[in-house]
Amino acid sequence: MAGQTRMLFRHVDEPGLASIDTYRRLGGYRALEKALRDIDPDELLSSLEDSGLRGRGGAGFSMGKKASFLPRGDMEKFLCCNADESEPGAFKDRELMSKNPHQLIEGIVIAAVAAGIGQAFVFIRGEYWEVADILDRAVEEAYAAGYVGENILDTGHRVELVVHRGAGAYICGEETALLDALEGKRGNPRLKPPFPAIQGLYGGPTLINNVETLSNVPHIVKNGSDWFKGFGTEQSPGTKVVSVSGCVQRPGNYEIELGIPSREIIYGLAGGPPEGHEVKAWFPGGSSAPVLTADELDLPYSFESMADAGSMLGSGSIIVADENVSIPHLALRTARFYHHESCGKCTPCREGTNWTVKMLERVISGEATPMDLDVISSVQDNIIGNCLCVLGDSMAMPVGSMVAKFRHEFEAAIEAGRDAAPRPLDESPTDVKPVPVGAAG
């Protein structure tokens, strides 16, 4: 399709791509053969680092560099592919895995060999049970074909691969919570340092990468890092699968070259809002990214440009809101999600998300005053940077940005709420009763 640059999605429309035969027929597993037979692991690692591939899960950290942090030497090391895609607005990994699972498996095995890792896991969110089934079948095929397991392709390399299904918690997409969950514990983030590269799963050095990041690896190995750098911008090389959703005519996944104007994605590829409607706000990187406005539609879609604009590219999920969307409701919806998903381990996130929801509910119901908007903003500031992991920030950044950029809408919502539901003075705002043992009120 015009405007797209398909690398990971190159054969996405090919029927039966999920089977190993089709994948192989289309050139699959050649990169693995090359990586294992012709390149030594150190070289492999440096070519990944040279390619400038940045993590596609949200943080955008250099994948090769992360892999190079793992200590060398003979010890039990782990690779965890983070397939706990739970961010509202993100659905790229689902398609990458369900359509082309072998591309991911190939990437995992190459990355594992490069970092000297013998045991790999795919931690897939429980709700992706259909995808997990596809992945399970693909892993079975790959084992049977000798691409995974003992003595891969008779090269002496060993990589075991296990697909593990999560139990449905957003927090388990946080890399250290993922490790705890994988170990069978309650999925709570760990304190960093130590970073997983040094002390991760079961205390061993662990490389954790997103599905899309690892799916890029075979292409880099096959074509070289210079070829890869030919795509995208200097600081954001390669392509990106962007999930576009919300008020657009053609929502879906689009693979684009990093750095193209954002307008081209939202309007060109996704068709923009329905006829007669205009973009009011958009999340450039999932619901945890600070919102941007229509004035910012021409910014290049890259890690650095989004950061300069005060937001982030994150997992590359664009959510579009047109003028019919109430920003206070959007803020409440966003806050409720993070309130529901907060693990509760650290204070600012646990209490901050909870308090923010209560305040936003008052905004909608007309029980707030404009001064409460200052409290909401200040609470978001108090969350950002003070938490154990970034979940708290993930609510505070978009909510804070919405209050800052659309304050007039919040003020109007307070007025409207008050008018809509006049309340007798003697009625208490909420019904507060002790609840049974064990339940929270």
Binding site: L191, E341, G344, G385, V437
Partner: protein, 816 residues
């Protein structure tokens, strides 16, 4: 830069010296800078950085960092007072108060509450929260001893971490998620675990409160008094909360070398026994069959007359909780003016003096903290959970945090089996045989390597033990093989005595084989022989000092008869019990909260027991009473204070020489680490002549032959072992809060034996041996060695007498 190296950092512009690797929050204290914390508690292990209260600014790091989890480096520049840091601190306090009820005026914690203190010191000072707070039913019992108020909980994780990572009972969990998270147990079951009281102290708010202490006092009503708990050999350091001269609460008084700052629930709630209305508070004389209160003069006269008449036909039984001073003065009375050699302080038959010396030698003695430094630990012949509970926590700690290798070799399964790398089971009574096999495996040539199962077990256990870095925690049958094993491995020994002050009492002379300082003396009767001699009339007078042999001796019924037959019984006791029933004169005993004196920890640490509350009624300091009694019998001791009693001990026990109360201080001092340890009566290298060591044979049951090699019981019989359950104690019965923990007599047996004897599904059985019979519930336990079964000792039903006997078991007649 290595950990421990002296480094310099700058905190708020002040240069602070600290050790590299120390957490910033601790290092800052060296510069008098306090960084507030809630979740940080080094006793719980690695920091978790959850509460975010300790955020500070560190030069070179863009984000604020948690001081609790940041190890200090040389040249680090830290700010704890900048606007940015203050904003973060204000924010965290504000967040914590979003859901905290602020019911401080009716909260037990009010006035000693870290949340109050930190809100005052680091909070914003005003609230912006107008939204409703979360609500729970409250307070509800988390256990029979603890109430939980989930509204007050600030979710700091301390209690959960304790349960998961210290006690490892894993019962406390965080349930639900986010702001709905709450602390609870699976399926709301009561949290019943022997150390769970510690979470009350760990809680930084009033969410976990002691049921027994709720609404009893406010912090401004109370005083603290430090002492040592003598309810078991752990001798944990405690702090009494005293209001109006009554004990309201017991808290831990951190002493890393002794207890790591933890307490068991017995020590924490057992104070209720001391406040019991049933205490004996006045001296009494038996008149017309009943004990009637009399004056001290009358009682002392009567006691002196009774003892004087019997003279050398007197025997003293000194109980475990007695202080060194009480023990010393008792044996001095018995050995001196009365001229009798019969002094015992344990019901296990004494070893001879040579073996005692060998096993007590300072070079072999492990300190409690040596466990932390050892690469491997062997638990031999005892379950620390029951015999010295606080050691159970320490062993768990070193296995978890240091990767220490643990081997357990016992007759009965222990509570630490789960963290042990290897476990071995031998039959009750076969400990010595096992130790000899183990010593042989480690290379001691005087023993033959064992064949078969015994040999294989010994080999497995030996494989765990690291030469030069092993601590052997043991109890049970003393034998030269224990010393040989230690010598072979260059290991250190920590013996857990049966009584709380077992070691101290032995060292001040309360043993029939040695006088004060383990000196040579004419040998008295062993406990078993003593019981018999009393029954036969060869010994006429029993002098019981804080001892209740009817309950505590394995042969309780035998002692009951012995005391009944005795011509005269003088008892020093806190309560009227099975032994005072036979007493002619009773002196009211002091508890460890009233007593002044010293005790000696199993690792040789002398500790001070100090009075925190006044004596009840007419009770008097026992050292004073005993000194007076000695005077009446003609030994003018000149002892006019507890300090002088200690000085007399220091005079007579060469390896305690010149020790004073001041030197012992608040944390105690190990005699092995003092200069005077050189005075130990056995030269460092000297080993006793093998032939001179007598192996006690009275341990072996009547079915037995050779020690350790108990014959296989007949097919319908079981070889019985007994153990003293942690809760099979007077304190459980006398403390209302603990009463629910009193064990029911239970026969524990292996699934194979249950099958063989047709006991599957049988709730109760009768256990019979040679005319005696007792009733027990049945518990089938996987890890019990087939052919063996266990009963609880110390319940007063005579189970102890069945130890090492083969018994017949059948479904209870007339039972359910």
């Amino acid at each position: 830069m290595t950990n421990g190296e002296e480094i310099t950092l700058v905190v708020d512009g002040v240069e602070v010296r600290a050790q590299a690797g120390m957490m910033l929050v601790d290092a800052a204290k060296h510069g008098d800078v306090e960084i507030p914390v809630f979740c940080y508690e080094p006793k719980l292990g690695q920091p978790v950085g959850a509460c975010r209260m300790c955020l500070v600014e560190i030069e070179g790091i863009p984000k604020l960092q948690t001081a609790c989890s940041t190890p200090v480096r040389d040249g680090m520049v830290v700010y704890t007072q900048t606007d940015r840091v203050q904003e973060a601190q204000n924010a965290v306090v504000e967040f914590l108060l979003v859901n905290h009820p602020l019911d401080c005026p009716v909260c037990d914690k009010g006035g000693e509450c870290p949340l109050q203190d930190i809100s005052m010191g680091w909070g914003p000072g005003k609230s912006r929260v107008i939204d409703p707070k979360r609500h729970f039913q409250k307070p509800i019992p988390l256990s029979p001893l603890i109430k939980i108020d989930r509204e007050r909980c600030i979710l700091c994780y301390r209690c959960v971490r304790f349960s998961q990572e210290v006690a490892e009972d894993e019962q406390l969990q965080l349930l639900e998620r986010g702001a709905s998270t709450f602390v609870g147990t699976f399926d709301d079951r009561p949290y019943i675990a022997p150390f769970h009281g510690n979470i009350i102290e760990l809680c930084p708010v009033g969410a976990l409160t002691s049921d027994a202490y709720r609404f009893r006092a406010r912090p401004w009503d109370i005083e603290d008094a430090g002492t040592v708990c003598t309810l078991c050999p752990s001798q944990c350091n405690i702090k009494l909360t005293v209001r109006d001269e009554r004990i309201q609460r017991v808290l831990a008084r951190d002493n890393f070398e002794v207890d790591d700052g933890w307490l068991c629930d017995k020590g924490r709630f057992g104070y209720q026994m001391i406040e019991s209305p049933d205490r004996i508070t006045e001296p009494m004389i038996r008149q017309g069959g009943t004990l009637v209160p009399v004056s001290w003069e009358q009682a002392l006269e009567a006691a002196a007359a009774g003892l004087r008449d019997a003279g050398e036909r007197t025997a003293a039984v000194v109980g475990g909780p007695s202080s060194n001073e009480e023990g010393y003065l008792t044996q001095r009375i018995v050995r001196g003016p009365l001229g009798s050699p019969h002094v015992v302080s344990t019901y296990d038959d004494a070893v001879d003096r040579e073996l005692l010396l060998e096993l007590s030698r300072p070079q072999l003695a492990a300190s409690v903290a040596d466990i932390d430094r050892a690469e491997s630990v062997l638990v031999l012949g005892t379950d620390p959970m029951h015999s010295m509970p606080i050691i159970d926590l320490r062993i768990r700690k070193v296995v978890r945090r240091n990767g220490t290798r643990l081997a357990v070799a016992t007759d009965r399964p222990t509570s630490i089996d789960g963290v042990a790398e290897e476990t071995a089971r031998y039959s009750p009574g076969a400990m010595s045989a096992f130790v000899e096999a183990l010593a042989a495996e480690t290379g001691a040539e005087v023993y033959d390597r064992a064949e078969g199962e015994l040999g294989a077990d010994a080999e497995r256990i030996a494989g765990i033990l690291r030469p030069g870095s092993t601590v052997i925690v043991w109890a049970g049958e003393p034998s030269l093989a224990v010393a040989d094993l230690a010598a072979q491995l260059d290991a250190k020994l920590l013996e857990i005595p049966a009584g709380a002050n077992g070691r101290g009492l032995r060292e001040v002379g309360c043993t029939p084989v040695a006088g004060p300082g383990l000196s040579e003396t004419s040998t008295g009767l062993s406990p078993t022989d003593l019981c018999e001699a009393l029954t036969e009339g060869d010994v006429e007078v029993a002098f019981l000092v804080n001892a209740d042999p009817v309950r505590d001796a394995p042969n309780g019924p035998g002692w009951n008869e012995a005391l009944q037959k005795a011509k005269f019984v003088l008892a020093i006791s806190m309560f009227e019990d099975g032994s005072t029933k036979h007493a002619d004169v009773v002196f009211p005993a002091e508890s460890y909260t009233e007593k002044e004196g010293t005790v000696t920890h199993p690792d040789g640490r002398l500790q001070r027991v100090r009075p925190g509350v006044p004596h009840p009624g007419n009770a008097r300091p026992m050292w004073e009473v005993l000194a007076e009694l000695a005077g009446l019998l003609g030994d003018e001791t000149g002892i006019d204070s507890a300090g002088e009693a200690l000085a007399a001990i220091a005079q007579d026990v060469p390896f305690y020489a010149r020790i004073t109360e001041g030197e012992i201080g608040g944390l105690g001092v190990r005699w092995q680490e003092r200069e005077a340890a050189r005075n130990f009566p056995l030269a460092p290298g000297a080993r006793p002549e093998r032939s001179s060591v007598v192996v006690p044979t009275s341990h072996v049951g009547t079915t037995g032959g050779v020690p350790g090699a108990s014959p296989a019981p007949a097919s319908d019989q079981l070889q019985i072992g007994t153990y003293r359950d942690l809760w099979a104690a007077e304190v459980t019965d006398r403390s209302p809060a603990l009463r629910f923990l009193r064990p029911t007599q239970t026969l524990e047996l292996s699934p194979a034996d249950a099958e063989r004897l047709g006991l599957n599904g049988t709730p109760e059985v009768d256990v019979r041996q040679n005319g005696t019979s007792l009733r027990a519930r049945v518990a089938i336990r996987e890890r019990i060695r087939p052919g063996t079964a266990f009963l609880v000792d110390g319940l007063g039903d005579g189970a102890g007498a069945l130890a090492r006997h083969a018994v017949e078991v059948s479904a209870a007649e007339g039972g359910e």
